[in-house]
Point group: C2
Amino acid sequence: MRMAELSAESGVPVATVKYYLREGLLPPGARTSPNQARYSAAHVQRLRLIKALTEVGGLTLASVGAVLRAIDEHETPHQTMGVVQQELAGPAPKVSDEAAGWATGLLQDLARRHGWQWHEPGTGEPGNNEVANLVAALATAKELGHERLAERLDEYVRLALRVAEVDVEVVVGLTSVDKIIEVGLIATVLGDRIFAGLRHLAQEQLSRELLGGPPA
Amino acid sequence: MRMAELSAESGVPVATVKYYLREGLLPPGARTSPNQARYSAAHVQRLRLIKALTEVGGLTLASVGAVLRAIDEHETPHQTMGVVQQELAGPAPKVSDEAAGWATGLLQDLARRHGWQWHEPGTGEPGNNEVANLVAALATAKELGHERLAERLDEYVRLALRVAEVDVEVVVGLTSVDKIIEVGLIATVLGDRIFAGLRHLAQEQLSRELLGGPPA
């Protein structure tokens, strides 16, 4: 298909498609003349993926580039998902050393109890931004005087494991490595958004009953 | 305390504190002379809250303003949490009408099965951005050809309800309305970040075993 169809099919404006081509986020089409090229269904899918990562996942184009490079370089699914999670987490906010030390201790105990491999924050390892962001979120709760949240951490871990089991089941039925990576990516990016949305709706139903909302 | 101490105590630079005062995000201190004012522990807590909402929650300052106004106007905890969730969700990304119709049908069925009150997207009701974003995330999965995610939606709903029960238990033990709102706010903003982080770590452990990561 030509550029105009590619744009119509993917819902991405022509100027944006051209920008993605220049930035290398979208591979070039097959040249048919000096200023014309043909694009395929793979281009449409790639554009939809970029849209999902930026608009639903909230990733910057730089992060999208890192994720797409990891996919294109055919790293293992495990490694690719590491890059995805690293980019989704982004750099962690600054917190006080005292609160960070408290939160790191909590998470180390948790990792030990659940037999999880522990990524020391700040070493540049994959999974590292993730841990650094977890430390920052827990430390922020402590700085605000709400370390009580941490008392329920074991229950959150148990539920997070159940959610991750469903996530992984969605992925492992697939046979193609490309599909595994794509679905894993989508399950993570869209899955976070979907689960947070369901959790908020559930909180609203429960708080309506318990905290006295207006009658339904 | 004076401005310099307020800045040191909260970890927020003086120029930023002054900006928040001008924007009305932080209430003025008690004047002690024409160009001096005294600030209290409540000011420190408010600054930490703004920091948590922007740096961990990723809210814009406009959204933070909306949340703080809802708190200061002493709406009921239920209504305040509605504003918080509305601002956290933000406006929903655009998706095709066909995919949006499919996702809306799915969510209506789900709401019926679980006895949840359903907020029609686009009516400006609280909880509305949340539903519109859920619709957009599911519709995006469909556009990408991954409607399979939706097959497991009932399991995600069941787990989201369990997580929300823990969230609400953290809050209902409290007696002061101000505390309920503050903890609810923190549980939502930090809670989303913490749960997503735990889920990713759990996914990583499971995918290491199932998808063949490097040996630990």
